[in-house]
């Protein structure tokens, strides 16, 4: 037995608390941690990694009593995108804690050895980047993989992966599997935080479900059904994971022909109609996010033609794109979409302030009224406009990031990985909001690496590979193998 927790409790000031947790991790085990947003998963992981103090309970490490603060040396905690140092190289990031020194005393780094080690690692796992790549130019998924590699080279007996698979494509997932197998061979244990029931079946040994700060139960994955796990998580039974509403398609909303954005995108053609949801998928680094940013005027494009509602548009900046009726809900919503120090009302109205302008000033009374309407309609947690957006759950933040564009009355919505790290109820809410949008005559470009989700929600699927759209499939007439084949280049 690697790690045992008995009766552990803690309460943090901001509403999260853990109560009487009993949990164990075996050697070589992959132990899944599940639970809805706000159920205390991250809090528990922080506790195990020694970042958060426990108020009660005992912990045994390798059979001996220990203290949580001491666990820090034995645990590697890979958070979502947080451990990456932007200004260092790939090799320096991976070996951050295990630098090979040519002189131990003076801590002089042996760069040749470092690069050799890193090159071996890249070859061993077939990683999607090279030693020379700068980290600030890598995509989200590639950075995640750097995190996994760091966990692997650390040789720590306990590894925590916090929602590692969100925004990973199946190809990246295979890399993650290989890395996890190697960690398992070293007799280390892995805590794997996830929302995705399908993926955990492939490698998980046991699953522990948290609900409202308590451990709802630990199940053997091989001997439990999805229903059992979901019931543990929420107490309810899930009916349809993808509640797609079909409406008759209208006229063309967005037309893109021969769009070029060297050196990444080549000859992009998209035609989006009213009431249509088009899925865009591809491997990490295939240019999905770059495409979204090009359409929204963040990156420069060369040549090509873009029209919205039949009118040709020359989009140079996000402001131009917004004027044309395009909305972007970015991949990283907290850093790219929300202003942390402002309240919900100010965040929601940022795009549509002109609507509320009277003479020189903004009519805040009417504005707050409209904002409250949206908060109620979209079930954003608290019915007040004055709390800072930081204090909301992820699900609500995502709703605010979407609602600010609904309030703007945009027509073309580009959603970049909108369901990443959302729990199942929040996902359903988001899908329903998408249905609402298409019913009102909008069109949606839905970027996601979750192929099941794309198949469930979209009319058509575009697959990007190396900056080109390699196929345009009807979602009813394709399957995940075919899409993955196009994405990896196995089908040409």
């Amino acid at each position: 037995m690697l790690l045992q927790l008995f009766g552990v409790s803690t309460s943090l000031t901001d509403g999260f608390h853990l109560h009487n947790i009993n949990l164990e991790l075996r050697k070589g085990e992959i132990h899944i941690i599940m639970g809805e947003n706000g159920s205390g998963k991250s809090c528990l992981m922080q506790l195990i990694s020694g970042d958060v103090p426990a108020e009660q309970g005992t912990v045994y490490l390798m059979g001996e009593t220990s203290r949580f603060e001491q666990l820090r040396d034995s645990v590697v905690y890979i958070r979502q995108n947080a451990n990456i140092l932007q200004n260092l190289s790939v090799a320096e990031n991976i070996f951050y804690n295990r630098m090979p020194y040519s002189n131990r005393l003076l801590k002089i780094i042996d760069h040749n050895k470092l690069n050799k080690l890193c090159a071996d690692l890249i070859q061993e796992f077939d990683l999607p980047f090279s030693i020379d790549d700068r980290v600030d130019q890598l995509g989200w998924a590639q950075r995640q993989i750097i995190g996994f590699c760091r966990a692997f080279v650390s040789d720590a007996p306990i590894v925590i992966l916090d929602e590692p698979s969100s925004s990973l494509t199946e190809h990246d997932m295979r890399i993650l599997h290989r890395i996890m197998e190697k960690i398992r061979e070293k007799k280390a244990g892995i805590f794997y935080v996830s929302h995705n029931l399908n993926e955990i079946r492939e490698f998980g040994d046991r699953v522990s479900v948290l609900r409202k700060g308590e451990l709802a139960g630990t199940l053997d994955l091989a001997r439990s059904s999805d229903d059992e796990i979901i019931r543990l998580m929420s107490g309810t039974v899930l009916t349809n994971p993808y509640p797609r509403l079909r409406v008759p398609l209208g006229k063309t909303l967005l037309e893109v022909t021969h769009l070029q954005a060297p050196p990444i995108l080549e000859d992009i053609n998209i035609r989006l109609r009213k009431g249509e949801i088009i899925g865009i998928t591809g491997l990490a680094g295939s240019g999905r996010t770059y495409l979204a940013h090009c359409l929204f005027g963040v990156h420069d494009t060369e040549g090509g033609y873009l029209s919205v509602n039949g009118r040709e548009r020359n989009i140079q900046s996000p402001a131009d794109a917004i004027d044309a009726g395009i909305a972007l809900i970015p991949e990283d919503r907290f850093t790219d979409s929300l202003v942390g120090c402002l309240d919900v009302s100010k965040n929601l109205s940022l795009t549509s302030l002109k609507r509320f302008k009277q003479l020189l000033s903004i009519n805040t009374t009417i504005l707050n009224q409209v904002v409250l309407d949206y908060i109620r309609k979209l079930r954003i947690d608290s019915y007040t406009t004055e709390k800072s957006i930081r204090e909301y759950t992820r699900g609500s933040q995502q709703k605010v990031a979407l609602a600010k564009w609904i309030m703007k009355r945009s027509k073309v919505f580009i959603l970049d990985e909108p369901t990443r790290s959302l729990d199942i109820p929040s996902r359903i809410d988001l899908y329903n909001s998408m249905n609402d949008l298409i019913r009102k005559g909008a069109g949606i470009l839905f970027i996601s690496s979750d192929i099941e989700e794309i198949l469930g929600m979209c009319d058509r699927v575009l697959v990007l590979s190396d900056g080109r759209i390699v196929c345009n499939l009807e979602s009813g007439k394709t399957n995940s193998e075919e899409i993955l084949g196009y994405a990896t280049g196995e089908i040409l």
């Binding site: 004027d323 202003v339 942390g340 402002l342 940022l350 302008k357 020189l360 903004i362 009374t365 707050n368």
Partner: protein, 389 residues
């Protein structure tokens, strides 16, 4: 009672600054044996600090855009003071067009710095550090190292004149000032009632009637007491009228206009603001142009008060203005801060300066104490923020 406690709790930070100001005033009132709050000295406080407060307003906008500061404001003030002196004293230009042209020159200074900051994206710290040297140098070039004086009376009036008394006989109380106080407090009452009614109409929560009444009554009496105090000396100084207009206009701008919202959004998260359609470069440029225009205004007020344009004018103004904003609760990372806060911060600095001078504390100790007050004020702010999380 719970309601009152709740209101106090939620507005803790705002009230903390007011409480700090009031306690510093009481402290110095005792230490100076009652000199601090004599009508003459209250008027002096306003006159002495007017240019710093004007600068603090502009500086707050700079700080809101992400902790950027403007180090050049002291030099710009000196530069524009020198330019206006040259126009008026050397070239014998009439006062009004000379002032207008000086402000336009201030705008050009801002456009110059704003261009490098907003469009070339050189850090504001570096651009304004350069500006600090450049415009100090140009001031000396224009003045050839000498002092230009005196200004015509109408120019001096801006900084040291008082509004005329239409009703009084020139002796005793300044009646017009008292009337203005009464009108202002009634206007305040009216706007508060209107906003309360507007909120109730849309079912927004409002503070309970006693809390509301207490707040309004306190502020109304403060307004009247203040104008009565000024009336006991020479009435309302011209520069106070200017200052109040600026405070109201900029509070309105930051709270109620699209430009204001864009500044806060920019400071809170530049990338998100850009992806929400805020023209970020334009916002940054505008903020620096505005800062330099206000610095020009401060330069004119200071030259008028001194009745001279000197090469050393405006020395260290920038630091007082920056300190005012941070004492007043602005965040060094941007996006947080209010105009009223910056003004209160400026007044705290002003009362400290004035009180210590009356007590005869030497300038070296004054600096030391001011430095420590700045540090502790911001430390308190940081402490309450982490605690509330």
């Amino acid at each position: 009672m719970d309601n009152i406690l709740h209101t106090i709790k939620t507005h803790m930070r705002q009230y903390a600054m007011v409480v700090a100001l009031v306690s510093i005033m009481i402290l110095f009132q005792i230490l100076t044996e009652g000199i601090l709050l004599k009508p003459l000295n209250v008027t002096n406080l306003v006159l002495q600090n007017s240019y710093i407060l004007v600068l603090a307003i502009g500086m707050l906008l700079c700080i809101l855009t992400g902790g950027n500061i403007d180090l050049s404001v002291g030099s710009t003030a000196a530069f524009v003071g020198a330019v206006s002196a040259t126009f008026i004293i050397t070239f014998n230009m009439p006062v009004v067009p000379a002032i207008a042209m000086s402000l336009v020159i201030g705008a050009f200074v801002g456009a110059w710095q704003g261009y490098w900051i907003a469009y070339v994206r050189i850090p504001a710290f570096i651009v304004t550090l350069s500006g600090m040297l450049v415009f100090r140098g140009l001031t000396m070039v224009i003045l050839k190292g000498r002092t230009l004086a005196p200004f015509p009376v109408s120019y001096q009036k801006i900084a040291s004149g008082f509004i005329p008394d239409f009703f009084g006989n020139g002796e005793g109380l300044h009646i017009t000032t008292i009337l203005i106080g009464v009108l202002a407090s009634l206007f305040y009452l009216f706007t508060e009632l209107r906003s309360r009614r507007g909120k109730q109409k849309y079912d927004f929560s409002v503070s309970s009637m006693p809390v509301f009444a207490l707040k309004v009554a306190v502020l109304m009496s403060v307004i009247n007491l203040f104008t009565y105090w000024l009336a006991r000396y020479k009435g309302i100084p011209n520069v106070l009228v200017l200052l109040i207009v600026l405070i109201l206009a900029y509070s309105f701008m930051t709270n109620k206009t699209i430009a204001g919202r864009h500044i806060y959004a920019f400071g809170g998260n530049e990338k998100a603001a850009k992806l929400s359609g805020v023209k970020t470069n334009r916002v940054l440029f505008g903020v620096y142009v505005n800062m330099s225009i206000l610095a020009a205004l401060a330069g004119i007020i200071f030259a008028g008060r001194l009745n001279a344009a000197t090469p050393k004018a405006g020395n260290l103004f920038e630091l007082d203005a920056i300190a005012s904003c941070f004492i007043g609760g602005a965040s060094a990372t941007g996006g947080v801060g209010t105009i009223v806060g910056a003004i209160i911060g400026g007044l705290i600095m002003g009362v400290l300066n004035n009180g210590m001078s009356i007590m005869g504390i030497s300038i070296d100790w004054q600096q030391t104490i001011k430095g420590l007050v700045l540090l502790f004020a911001v430390a308190f702010d940081v402490y309450t923020k982490t605690k509330s999380k």
